[in-house]
């Protein structure tokens, strides 16, 4: 009896754990709204759907060695990974996956991406690093009037319209001296307006624009929802008059300004308009800082006014490494090439006590003050920054300095409608499969069949919970594997029931027959499941993407089916036996 109680407790606990694992929860994620990226909280069931089920894009990038071998490939890929990840973050895709695959591949998964060409361009382009001196001439302050005028004119229109990417030709106004044409064109990639630049690099025409409308059309439902909320926020803004002058607060150094996140979201699309850049005095540009800054519960963004001509570009950077020093604190030490060192020497000598912005892909990573003329070796002191921060900066600098050319080795895109369709059909197939199995089991085994069906219900619950618990991704083959496993899941029950029947044939008592049935069926169940699990493991280790998802589902199903058939159904029997004292016959 006690035994039965503890069994029931275990089952109850498993059910609770499963429900907890499957309970919808609030997730914080970055989403793209009206062309800008905001942090949003969303309720969702913790079962990740693969790209083939929700629509999106899968990219495999590989190191392009066609233009010469890369010496330290592993290291190079590691650095490329950081750049790609940063850029993907900029795309504002929710739950992106960027990981290394094999020794020279990077795997990128972008759920719900509606402009694959742009995503691809952003991911593929070489990172671009510039050192620019911050503006000392109050250029921004002098231009505020003009900027406010532009804002007053454009903000209402922007709010009413959709993605700010429609902002027209932006083109990096900063074609850096000495940089190659290719990297010059990359300038605008990361800011949303840079889309245009990205498109230019892939050399495209009107046909592309037409196609983009089509792509937007397929996801219209979801987009319009976002759009509505975006329009709402825009409508709530009191006035657009003096938008810039109101928002901008002076920062700690020359040319550095601070804005609240809300103002950033509002003004960010504006900044890339050609009018805005034109409003600035010649030779000056505005750039956003890469990081947010939290102070007193408020989130701030930094905005920099910079001399548009970079004093040096990442081409000349040969190395960057973090260092820790008792007197200096954490620093990043960098080495420049000989030519770069010469240039840097003269430029930094002219700009002592000025602030130098480290700009990666048009975002200001940091803006330290120049303390002395720097030759080929320099260091950036991070003040109170942690060693981790130094490491990150070093990685970013190196990544910017040594871009590994990447080539797209594989792309898979699935439209959202196909994904939804696949899910619906998969669920339909699953329901039918369950019905078929239920009918067969109950028709054949009667009461025991009902117990098995009860076990099957728990099997479905446990399997899904296991998948959620391991954060597995449900793919289309995975869904098929799950449906198939429903048919296979009852095999253990069938084996046990047949054994019980055999035992009953030798006119054993019901209780003994059940005990013996379970005992005799066990080796066959274990052996057959273990061998299936072995194939699933092989599939997992050699498979990619969808096939892996299939293997995971298969494994979760095997585990769940053994638990339900051996433990849960046994408990059901024990429960039944405890109710009916010394039953004469068993319906099986």
């Amino acid at each position: 009896m006690n035994n039965l109680k503890s069994r029931l407790l275990v089952i109850g606990a498993l059910i609770l754990a499963s429900l907890w694992a499957l309970f919808p929860r609030t997730v914080v994620e970055r989403v793209k709204r009206d062309g800008v990226f905001v942090t949003d909280t969303v309720r969702r069931v913790p079962l990740r759907r693969g790209l083939d089920l929700q629509g999106g894009m899968h990219l495999t990038l590989e190191v392009d060695e066609s233009k010469g071998a890369i010496a330290n490939k592993n290291d190079a890929v590691e650095r490329a990974l950081t750049v790609v990840r940063n850029r993907i973050d900029e795309l504002g895709v929710s739950e992106p996956i960027v990981q290394k695959a094999g020794e020279d591949r990077i795997l990128v998964e972008l759920p719900g991406v509606d402009d694959p060409a742009r995503a691809q361009a952003v991911v593929q382009k070489a990172a671009f690093l510039e050192f620019q001196i911050t503006d000392k001439t109050q250029a921004l302050e002098r231009s505020l009037g003009k900027l406010d005028a532009v804002a007053a004119q454009r903000l209402p229109a922007l709010a009413a319209r959709t993605p700010a990417t429609a902002g027209g030709a932006v083109a990096a106004t900063t074609t850096p001296a000495g940089s190659t044409g290719a990297s010059g064109g990359l300038g605008g990639l990361l800011t949303p307006g840079g889309d245009t630049a990205a498109k230019k690099t892939v050399a495209d025409s009107a046909a592309r624009a037409g196609k983009r409308t089509v792509a937007a059309g397929t996801s219209a439902g979801r987009d319009s929802a976002r759009r509505d909320s975006a329009t709402d926020t825009a409508a709530k803004l009191p006035t657009t008059k003096g938008a810039f002058s109101k928002a901008i607060i002076s920062g700690r150094g020359p040319g550095e300004y601070v804005l609240t996140e809300a103002d950033y979201l509002k003004l960010q699309p504006l900044l890339d308009l050609p009018e805005v850049q034109a409003a600035m005095p010649p030779g000056k540009v505005l750039r956003w800082g890469a990081d947010t800054l939290v102070q007193g519960g408020q989130v701030y963004r930094t905005l920099y006014a910079l001399d548009s001509r970079p004093i040096i570009t990442g081409e000349y950077l040969t190395d960057a490494r973090p260092a820790s020093d008792p007197t200096e604190g954490n620093t990043v030490q960098f080495t420049l090439s000989r030519e770069g060192g010469r240039r840097f020497q003269t430029e930094t000598a002219r700009h002592i006590k000025d602030f130098m912005a480290v700009v990666l892909d048009q975002r200001v990573i940091t803006a330290p003050v120049i303390e002395s003329a720097i030759g080929t070796n320099g260091q950036i002191r991070l003040g109170g920054g942690s060693l981790q921060a130094a490491q990150d900066l070093a990685i970013v600098l190196k990544a910017g300095a040594l871009p590994v050319p990447l080539r797209v080795a594989e792309t898979r895109e699935v439209g959202p409608s196909l994904g939804r369709d696949s899910i619906n059909k998969g669920i339909a197939a699953g329901v039918v499969a369950v019905l078929v199995v239920v009918v067969i089991m109950i028709a054949y085994y009667r009461f025991s069949g009902v117990l098995a069906v009860g076990g099957l219900a728990l099997y479905v619950l446990y399997t899904l919970a296991t998948l959620a618990g391991f954060n597995a991704t449900l793919t289309l083959p995975g869904l098929a594997g799950f449906v198939l496993s429903i048919g296979i899941a009852v095999d253990a029950n069938v084996l046990i029931f047949e054994r019980i029947r055999e035992e009953l044939d030798t006119s054993k008592s019901v209780r003994t027959a059940i005990d013996e049935g379970f005992r005799h069926a066990l080796p066959a169940i274990v052996d057959s499941n273990v061998s299936t699990a072995l194939t699933a493991l092989v599939l997992y280790s050699f498979g990619t993407g969808p096939v892996r998802g299939f293997a995971v589902t298969l494994l979760a199903g095997i585990a769940a089916s053994m638990v339900t058939a051996i433990f849960v159904v046994r408990t059901f029997y024990l429960l039944w036996l405890s109710r009916a004292r010394a039953p004469r016959a068993l319906s099986i």
Partner: protein
């Protein structure tokens, strides 16, 4: 109590010769037909290339479609209707693939197809539902990966069964599994199914399923070896197959039910998978009896087990056993 195939005494193994001829014929015919057609149809997962699934607003003229693609420089594209009559897949090889230098790699063909069709039919006339583009190197790696996966799963099975049973069981099971792979490939060739990653997953599932079935029977054989000492293996295997028959029938019924549900309701993309699985249920069952069991008996004749019983029996046993062995022979 509803019972089917209860307490049967069919002499299954008797037919092994006929079955061997039948299955060999099937494999030869299937493989022959596949070869005549120019080999298996591999998906772009393995060959590299581009596949696009397009959904048109209105039923397009396939000839026009082809003409537009040809004119747009997408040559030798394979256009197939997929699902409804408004949906098509376009499959094309990347001509520059061998050069490998194109920065945009595998994606460029997809872009060209899109642009060409947008020009010809208008951008709103169709939507691209799915695009897959695989570079040649990835393709060849995936192909190698699939073969390695199958071989490794063989090795693991052999080791596991050796450990749990005996080498002869393991060997018989692996040969039966190899047989399943050949029949499945023949089936894929006959059905003209496209071999994709999903189909490889299906083949591996078939392997798992077939093994499952074989192991259930072998487990019974192992048990009966202990229970009916001295019974000739031929009879013993027959007995075991008969005893497990009700289970086989029922499990195959439920699995086939689930597979048919997939085949009928899960949509076009999963259909090849479901076909292979459906076939796999039959070949898996067949091979458990006519390949695995038959080979087990064959191995037994060739290499009689020295003293199966002695191996498992306590050391004291042999002293009593001689007369028993005599009686049995």
């Amino acid at each position: 109590m509803l019972r089917i195939f209860h307490d049967t005494h069919y002499d299954f193994i008797k037919w092994w010769r006929a079955m061997a001829i039948a299955t060999a014929t099937f494999i030869i015919v299937g493989m022959g037909a596949t070869l005549l057609r120019g080999g298996l149809r591999y998906s772009i997962d393995f060959t590299g290339g581009t596949l696009m699934q397009l959904a048109f607003q209105q039923k397009p003229d396939v000839a026009q479609l082809r003409a537009a693609l040809d004119a747009g420089g997408v040559r030798d594209a394979e256009i197939t209707q997929f699902g409804s009559d408004r949906e098509f897949t376009v499959r094309a090889q990347d001509e520059n693939a061998s050069a490998g230098a194109s920065t945009h790699g595998a994606e460029s063909v997809a872009r060209r197809v899109r642009d060409v069709l947008a020009q010809r039919f208008g951008a709103s006339a169709f939507t691209v539902v799915r695009t897959e583009a695989v570079g040649p190197r990835v393709g060849s790696e995936l192909r190698r990966g699939a073969i390695i996966a199958i071989l490794v799963s063989f090795a693991l099975t052999l080791i596991y069964l050796w450990f749990r049973f005996e080498w002869r069981f393991g060997l018989a099971a692996v040969i039966a599994t190899a047989h399943d792979i050949f029949t499945t490939i023949a089936f894929i060739g006959l059905m003209h199914l496209e071999v994709s990653l999903t189909v490889i997953a299906a083949i591996l599932t078939v392997i798992g399923y077939s093994l499952n079935d074989t192991i259930i029977i072998f487990d019974r054989v192992r048990e009966n070896l202990r229970k009916h000492r001295g019974m000739p293996l031929y009879d013993l295997v027959n007995l075991s197959v008969n005893e497990t028959l009700p289970r086989s029938v029922l499990t195959h019924a439920t699995t086939l039910g689930a597979t048919l549900a997939l085949l009928l309701f899960a949509g076009e993309v999963i259909r090849p998978f479901a076909w292979v699985m459906a076939f796999g249920i039959f070949t898996g069952t067949f091979s458990s009896i006519y390949v695995a069991s038959a080979i087990l008996i064959w191995i037994e004749r060739r290499y009689p087990r020295p003293a199966v019983d002695a191996r498992r029996a306590p050391a004291a046993r042999p002293a009593v056993r001689p007369d028993r062995t005599l009686a049995a022979s």
